[in-house]
């Protein structure tokens, strides 16, 4: 099936995740091979996803872990986990 650009954009996310059916994937790839614009949309979407996933982008606040475990220590020293049936 011949897809136009707008149809290809609808499939971009599933294409990146590899979840398209083999037939649709083949249609998308056939379109991409001849369409510079859709290839660019695909590349840039994929690049944005790769950049976002990098641990340097969303960093934890300084000493976040330290504060979390300190708070936890206070509770662990005083309480056991609740038994089932208590609310």
């Amino acid at each position: 099936m011949v897809l136009d650009c707008k149809h290809v954009w609808n499939h971009i996310s599933d294409y990146i995740d590899g979840t398209l059916s083999p037939e649709v994937r083949a249609d998308v790839e056939r379109h991409l091979a001849g369409c510079e614009i859709c290839s660019a949309v695909l590349d840039s979407t994929r690049n944005v996803i790769i950049l976002m996933a990098d641990d340097r982008v969303f960093e934890l606040p300084v000493d976040y872990s330290k504060r979390l475990h300190a708070r936890l220590d206070q509770i662990l020293a005083m309480e056991s986990p609740e038994s089932l049936g208590t609310s």
Binding site: K6, W9, N10, I12, S13, D14, I16, D17, T19, E36, I37, A40, V41, D43, S44, T45, N47, V48, I49, I50, L51, M52, A53, D54, D55, R56, V57, F58, E59, L60, P61, Y64, S65, R67, L68, H69, R71, L72, I75, L76, E79, S80, P81, E82, S83, L84
Partner: protein
């Protein structure tokens, strides 16, 4: 990067830790949650958008998970259970500040209708070294913060925390198809917003270049 995908070895290790904690070795709870600290923070941040508030929410959620540990059945993965508790905590805080009311309006406008991505050429390479620069991180943070809340939750769980689509659906309590729709929309919104800005940063020499426009614009 921490993945939420638990291998059988991870599940076994966690079951053993949980059994030990419930039997009285409370200190092991530190080890149990340590692998998920980053995920929990991002989960809380996906709703709250405020670093201090997100950190508080994680602390409360982790304390709740400790207290309720006996009710964890092992049907879901421990990480999914923790994320769900964190989302509940964050939602509770949102309700207090009444931001939640704005959500549903955002959604409907963005989940339907045609969408046009940004058209660019020649950005094949991913310049990961650009992430050393604070202004690049700020651009990404701002773009993610501008997403409708429900889109931001999905994209942070799926693309930043790298949960699977199934895990994202389970953590948020929504269907797989809704995860896919929101993820797709979120990714294209981020592409539209970020790709032109990031491409400029990648190729400063071409700063004045005029991007090719869509013929039907």
């Amino acid at each position: 990067m921490t993945s939420a995908t638990a291998s059988p070895a991870t599940s076994e290790r966690e079951s053993a830790l949980i059994a030990a904690i419930l039997a009285g070795d409370r200190e092991k709870f530190h080890d149990l949650i340590r692998p998920y600290e980053r995920q929990l923070y991002l989960t809380a941040l996906s709703l709250l958008k405020n670093e201090a508030e997100a950190e508080d929410a994680v602390q409360e959620a982790v304390l709740r998970a400790y207290r309720k540990l006996a009710s964890f059945r092992g049907e879901a993965k421990f990480s999914t259970w923790l994320i769900a508790i964190t989302l509940n905590e964050a939602r509770g805080r949102l309700r207090k500040t009444q931001q939640a009311a704005i959500d549903s309006l955002d959604d409907q406008s963005s989940e339907s209708g045609d969408f046009t991505p940004a058209a660019l050429t020649d950005w094949r390479e991913v310049p990961l070294e650009m992430l050393e620069r604070q202004e690049i991180k700020t651009l990404i943070h701002e773009a993610v913060a501008e997403l409708p809340d429900t889109f931001r939750q999905v994209v942070l769980l799926r693309d930043v925390e790298e949960l699977s689509v199934n895990e994202t659906a389970e953590a948020l309590g929504i269907s797989l198809s809704l995860v896919k729709v929101r993820l797709h929309r979120a990714r294209l919104l981020l592409q539209k917003k970020l790709a032109p800005l990031l491409l400029l940063e990648t190729k400063p020499a071409r700063r004045h270049r005029i991007f090719r426009r869509w013929p039907w614009f």
